[in-house]
Structures are given as structure tokens and as C-alpha cells.
Amino acid sequence: MTPVVTVVDLHTDIALSKGTVRPVSGVSFTVNKGESLGIVGESGCGKTMTALSIMRLLPPGGRIVGGSIALADVDLVAMDEAGMRRIRGDRVGMIFQDPMTSLNPCMTIGDQVSETVLLHREVTREHARERAAEVLDLVGLPHAKERMNSYPHLLSGGMRQRVVIAMALACDPELLIADEPTTALDATIQKQILELIDDLRTRLDMAVILVTHDLGVIAGHTDRVAVMYAGKIMETSPTPELFANPRHPYTEALFRARPENAGSDRKLYAIPGLPPDLSDPPRGCRFAARCAYATEECRAQEPELTGDNHAFACFHPLGINQQAAPNPPTPLATAQAAAPLLEVRNLVREFPVTSNGVLQRKIGAISAVADVSFTVGAEETFGLVGESGCGKSTISRLLVAADTPTSGSITFDGIEITGKSNRELRKYRGDFQLMFQDPYASLDPRMRVGSILREPLVIQHRGSAVDQENAVVRLLDEVGLPRTALRQYPHEFSGGQRQRIGLARALALRPKLIVADEPVSALDVSVQAQILNLMRDLQREHRLTYVFISHDLSVVRYVATTIGVMYLGKLVEIGPAEQVYTAPVHPYTRGLIDTIPLADPQRERRKSKAGVRGELPSAMNPPSGCRFRTRCPRASDKCAVEEPLMLPFSVQGHRAACHHPLRSPIPLSTSAHTAPPRP
């Protein structure tokens, strides 16, 4: 084992106008040749700053104030800037989070990749371009040679990330640092990129540091893990060991907050509170304030990171194989036989594509939603899942009448809402509300929280001014915010708190239905658990019906009673949540489940080759027949010609549209006799 990089007691400061933040305080680790280290933690824990410290690419004001970083035999902390430039891109390569912004929009990808070579090797332009084509081919960019002169905006996100990887690898680095390399990508693409990094690591015998917030990503793709919290490593060990036997309460809490590990009848474990302010970290253990096991000792004194192979910094570690107390149960909404509240029939939404010319002729249409039908029972949670661009957000807008369908009907509580004017809709609007994805954009930055929550009541003329004031206070209590919030502005709150405000606003009119469009995807896993628990509690209290839209199948499985899976505008599978998740029949659903990174190294490695391959086709010219056929392992000629019909697969309403399902449908006659009137 030859160590490639050894970090010892690293301290990094960032000087801001209002004080100095210490995002990295005393981090140590080693990564060997051919080994992969995962650094995991929630936002603001210092994992990215650790990575940037190794590259010495800290943001303005950032400075390494202590410790050493040894790359083989050289100390990177003591290195001068010219020396660092020779190392960056040559001996250490780095991949960044957002492939949409990390490429220069005005340079061809060939030039951008060959730039790395030209900066570090005495070669001609032609040689550099040859090498660039070679690396682009290596990272799996189709037709690499022909694409050398393409500009980044012509490539999809996944392809751009491959180009960024090619740039990082062009000079055969000893160490590759990947900072959240797949966070901005869809699950199916994420899997492909992670496998690519794995594959390249073995082939090129590199050391890899994989920085991520997702324990699932760590499980399948790293040899060792370091869990970071508030600028420190809390626990580090070989990957299987950590997952089998977490010792630090924070690591354990991270696991328990993941919805994939929770039975859908259990509450998620939510870590209370927020991480400490890193410009003034607390004395003692930094996790103490949020830790269920903390004692006086923890608050007074800081525990050291101790242990050889499996090290952790805790005075009260969890015992080996000690089972954590199960999460408290949450009564399930009893909705199974309820009457339908929402009926969607043959919903179609097309966005016209006009020519850029003078007359703006219509030259085509993006088929965002194509003939989708489903029913949602009262007090049920209907989960809608799919990759970005599958049409799920369009449906959310249609359901709350923020947009008008091209054709089809939406019936809410027996009332047809399509084709109604805004004026007519006004009196129904209080019954169905939308909860937005982005907690930053959905609250008016110039209104106090009190006014934001009162606005729906004012618009709908509910009660007197005093009634409204009281209602607002009640709402704050319900979503667990202090009353002082009334006089504050949205920017004074964290993302999770803002999402609480958004939920309170959606609740203000006491709606029957809340359509939640990716309500937790902008949040850290522990905060996500808080919001999901809250949504469930409120559902029970107010007999709410949810349509819960997400790209994350494990979240949807946890919250939903029924799941619908969408692909490129089509509903391909629908049914009771457990059936769809454990026994999917559509190859796409199967593939989507296989792409979810699980926080379990054994299961992760077992399923390694499964998953959906390739990229999403254009919705402007969707494939004929079955839209999934271009990426489907089971596709036949029939799939290209004939569009599959929805067939029943269980008497509980599990249905899918596939010519080659993973098991046979039940005979139509049986289902006709015994299936309930719902899907």
C-alpha cells in the first residue's frame, strides 16, 4: 500500500466581512494507490473545503492555517503557487458538482480537454488533441473524435460531466478528487458516472476522494469512509465496517434519517436543530447539542478521534451491534377504501415549439404529458416519480390549475376544473394547494412571514382580521416554528425552516389536497426527515390528500400509498407503493429502483450492473410505440410499432404498460370482477 495523499491535522479558515469561519478544523486521512475514500456529510460540514484545500483552490479569503497535505513526497501546504499549478491537472485532477457551469461555454470541448495536456506536457497542439480524443473516448463520450469541436451547450448534463472527467484525467493523475460529481444529475445518469469513476480508478490505478452528501453513493463506490460534521471527522473506517456497525451517534442518525431504511409505518429519525455556527464553534463535542446520548462531559470537553482501522470521536459510542431503538411508529393514514378525490383522465399537455423565424410558425410540440390517467383517493398519498423531463412537474402544475392541459380532464371532488376560467376557479382554489420545490424562490423576499401566511386568508376573505391573525399563529404552531417568526423575513430562515413556512402557507386555506412538487429535494437528509415527518403528522390531523412528486423513489416509497412511475410524458406503471417498489413489472421501474444508491455496501455491489442505461430521448420527437424502448433491455420490434396498453398485474390495482413485463399480467376477466373501481 503506497499512500498517495496524506492529510494531517488540516485547518482551513475563510475570512468573511463579518468574521472568520473555520470550515475545516483538524482533519486527517490517508488515501492509498488504487483506493477510494468517501468523505460524507451534510451541507456546510467542510467536506468541499477539505477537497479544495488539497487543490489549494480555496474561495477568496480562504487560507490553510495549519497541518500538512503530503502528495507522495511533496508537501502541498508549503508549495508555492507556481509549483501548485504544475501539480493541479497533472498529478491531481478534480471534478466539480455542476457540469452545466463547470465548462467554458465559449470553448470547444476538444480545446478544453487538450488544454490540460498543453499546460503540463511539451507537446504540439495536434498531439494534445489526439490525447484529448483518446481520453474523451476513455470516459465514454460517444463519437468522441467527431465531437471534439462541439461546444458544451450541445451536450447533456451527463455528457458534460464526462468531459469534465476527461479534463481531470488527461494527464493521468495520481489522485482524482470528485466533489459531489453526480448531485446535479438524474439517478440513472448518476449511476453511470459513478461506475465510470470506479472503472477508471481500477484501470488507471488512481487514488480517488469522493465527496458527497449521500451515504448511498459512498456505500457502493468507496473502500473507506470519513464522516464529517462541523469541520471535523466524526468517524472513519473501511466502508463495509461503517455501514455494518456505525459507532458515532451522528453516523447512526444519518442512517436512521434515510427513508429507505424506515418502514412506511414508522417515523423517520430526524436530527433536531441545526449544525453549529462555524465562525464560533461550541466547546466540547460539536454534535453534542443535537445528540440524543450527550452528557455534561460531551459539552465540556472535545472527544479525540481514536481507533486504528475504525476510528471515532465520541465519549459514548454506540456498542458493537447494539441495536438502536426502533423509530416510533406513526399511524398510517387509513385511506384505502376512500372515495376518489382527484380523477385525472387522458391528460395531455403539449408545449408548442415555434420556428425562430419571422412568422413563429408552429413546427412541432414537446409532448410533456401524453395521455395520463390516474385516480387519487381521499386522504391517500399518491407518489409520482420519474427522471427530470418526464413530465411530473408539468402534471403538478396542471393539477392545481396553474396551467391548462391541451386535452383531457381533471375532476376534483366531483368538479371538473379543466376549462374553467381563473375567475371561476377562484372559489375552488382554497381546496387544492401547491407546495413548491425551492424554498428560496417560493416565498416573497419582501414580505414578513406573518403577511405571507395571512395572504391566502386575505385573498379568500376568510374571517375577520383578528381571526386571520389567530389562524396564522396556529399555523406557525402546527409547523413547529416559534411565534417570533411572524415579524421576520424569509431570508432569516434556513432551507428547512422555509419549507415549513411553505407548508404552513399551503395549509392556511385548509385544503383537501396538497400537491407537493419535490418538497424535500433541496434539503439535507436530516432536515428532509423533519419535513417528511411533519407532512405525515399534518396529513393525519387534517385528513389531507397528498400528491407527492419526486425524482427519489426511496422517498416516494416511504410517504406514498400509491406510486405512479412516469417516463417521457407517459405513466408506465402504477400501483400500491409496496407492490411497485418490491415487485415492479415495468423494466423502467426495475431499472430506476436499481439506480437508487442504497446505504448498504453488500446490496449495492450485488446489483452493480443493473440499472437504466443511456440518456433520455427528446420529448419533441419521442420514440414510436413504447417510449422507453430505446433504453430498454427487453425491447423487441413490436415495441417500436405498437404502443403498449395498461394491463393489470394484481387485483389491488397494480398496472403497467409494457409488451414484455417482468411477470405476466393477470387475466383481464379476473381483474374486471374483483378489482376495486380505482386503478
Binding site: A82, R85, S102, C106, Y151, G357
Partner: protein, 315 residues
């Protein structure tokens, strides 16, 4: 990209038509209307009436507009009684000189402002940045005629090294052969633009330096110079093309003042003379022409933008 060009062309055409409408309205705003404009302030009411009949100004307004527009299209911008010359030939004589003045000053402005802006961005919040910013504010806040006079006082009165007047010649060759006389007018006009462009360039470079792709370039091992020249410069220059298009009207306004200060025989000075003597055919003609030149200029700037930015070029 062809879609972008056709759309922009069509927009420009509409804007040109609207410019003619504006000028047509101005024509009718004149006390006594177009007849007074053509015949001058001393014309008798009878003369006006007969002129109106003869020229069709007693017909419905849309017909008048159409006739006037067709006249414009054939290059008939009217006749100046004071100069006893057709407006088009007067403009033809003066326009090239104004173009020489404005184009030289734009080139000078860009040549100075771009490096200055980059310098300020790289050394931001340093002494150099503050000094340049301060002078940019001062030049921006100085009325251009005042600036011109200060330059004259310094360079022609105290250190008499440059002439206070621009070369008075009908031919461009002669003007260009006496570059000394051009220095002060071009500098006056350029200083204002420099003040504006350098501040814009500064913020554009600062913005681009904070972009993710710059961090990627640094992660490749690129040094400051490579980052600036290969990555940031091009991306920062693209918006300058648009700014240039938007600044054309300001630059033409500046040229009007500069020509008046330095007695430079260009179109601005002609316009000013015409305004003092209420020679409306000249004023209207120049207004239409400058409007058209501005529209064409912004169109070219937008096309340059499209060529420079691959996201538009290959859209």
C-alpha cells in the same frame, strides 16, 4: 442562428419604420407644419396654403405619411433654403466626417477601456482600482463641452501643442492628413465612453472570474494569465458588443456636442447650426438618418454577439 438573424432583421425594420413615424410626428408638431419647415419662418399664409396643396399636405395623414416615406426611400430628404442645397447632399458631405470622429473615438475607447477594466478586476479593491474608478466617475460626471474646453485650455492655451479647432476642410483626406487636429475631439468623445465601458468591463470580468468554469481551469493547472486570456476575456467581451450597440445614441449625442465645441464640420455641427436658424428640413433629415444608422449599428452589435457566443451561433 438564421432564425435569430431573421427575427432581429425584422425587429430592426419595424424600429426603422417607427423612427420615421416619430420624425413624421415631429414634422407636424412644428408651428405651421411642414410648409413652415420648408418655406421658412417668413412665408405668407397664402404661400403656405399653396405649398400645402402642391405637396399634398392637405390630404389625409396616412397618405401624407406614405408619400413622405416614398420620398425618403428615394433619398429625397428635402431642401435647405439657407444652404440652398438639398439636404441629402449636405448630409453626404458631413456624414463621413462624423463617422471618422465617432469610429476613431470608439476604437480608442475600447482600446483603453478593456485593458483598464481587466486591470481593475484583477486588482480589485486595490489602489489602482480606486484611482481608476474615481477618474471614471469624474469623467462620467463632467459635461462633455466642459471637458472639451478644459482640454483646449490645457493643450492649446497653456501648453500649445495641439490645435483648438478641428481641421476645416470639406474633404476627408485633408482631415485625416492633419491628425493633430483630431486628437482633442476624438479624446473628448472617447473619455466619456471610456468611463462607462471600463466600469462595465470591470464588473463583467469580476463576474466571470467567479464562474465555475474558471475554477475548473485553475484545477487544470492554468495560471492567472491563461485563465484571463483563454477563458475570461472572451466571455467578458461578449456583453461589451451589446453595450456598444446600446451606447451608439449616447455616442452620437456626444459627437453633437464635441463637434460644436471644436467647430468640427460634421453632421452634429450641421444639426446645431440648423437648430439655431430653425432649418427644419436639415434637422429632420439628420434625425431620420441618425436613427437608421443607430438601428443598423445595434443590429451589427447583436450579430457580433451571436457570432461571438456559440450558444447563440449553434442554437
Amino acid at each position: 442562428m438564421t432564425g435569430f438573424i431573421t427575427r432581429r432583421l425584422l425587429q430592426s425594420l419595424i424600429v426603422v419604420l417607427l423612427v420615421t413615424v416619430i420624425v413624421f410626428i415631429l414634422l407636424h408638431l412644428l408651428p405651421g407644419g411642414p410648409a413652415r419647415a420648408q418655406l421658412g419662418p417668413r412665408a405668407t399664409p397664402t404661400a403656405i396654403a399653396s405649398f400645402n396643396h402642391q405637396m399634398g399636405y392637405d390630404r389625409p395623414v396616412p397618405v401624407q405619411y406614405w408619400n413622405w416615406l416614398t420620398q425618403l426611400a428615394t433619398g429625397n430628404l428635402g431642401f435647405s433654403t439657407q444652404f440652398n442645397q438639398s439636404v441629402i447632399s449636405l448630409i453626404a458631405e458631413r456624414l463621413p466626417k462624423t463617422l471618422v470622429l465617432t469610429i476613431l473615438s470608439i476604437i480608442l475607447a475600447l482600446a483603453v477601456a478593456i485593458p483598464l477594466g481587466i486591470l481593475q478586476a484583477v486588482r480589485r479593491n486595490n489602489l489602482a482600482d480606486y484611482v481608476i474608478t474615481f477618474w471614471a466617475f469624474v469623467f462620467y460626471a463632467t459635461p462633455s463641452f466642459f471637458l472639451g474646453v478644459v482640454l483646449i485650455v490645457v493643450f492649446s492655451v497653456y501648453l500649445p501643442i495641439l490645435p483648438a479647432e478641428a481641421p476645416q476642410s470639406a474633404s476627408i483626406q485633408v482631415i485625416l492628413s492633419q491628425p493633430g487636429g483630431l486628437i482633442l475631439p476624438v479624446a473628448t468623445l472617447a473619455l466619456l465612453t471610456i468611463a462607462q465601458f471600463s466600469r462595465y468591463m470591470r464588473s463583467s470580468v469580476i463576474e466571470n472570474l467567479a464562474e465555475d468554469y474558471v475554477r475548473t481551469a485553475r484545477a487544470k493547472g492554468a495560471g492567472e494569465r491563461t485563465v484571463l486570456i483563454h477563458h475570461v476575456l472572451r466571455n467578458s467581451l461578449i456583453p461589451i458588443a451589446t453595450l456598444l450597440g446600446l451606447s451608439l445614441p449616447t455616442i452620437f449625442s456626444g459627437a453633437l456636442i464635441t463637434e460644436a465645441v471644436f467647430n468640427f464640420p460634421g453632421m452634429g455641427q450641421l444639426f446645431w447650426t440648423a437648430a439655431q436658424t430653425q432649418d427644419y428640413p436639415i434637422m429632420l433629415g439628420i434625425t431620420v438618418l441618425i436613427g437608421v444608422v443607430t438601428v443598423i449599428g445595434s443590429l451589427l452589435a447583436d450579430l457580433a454577439y451571436a457570432v461571438l457566443d456559440p450558444r447563440v451561433r449553434f442554437a
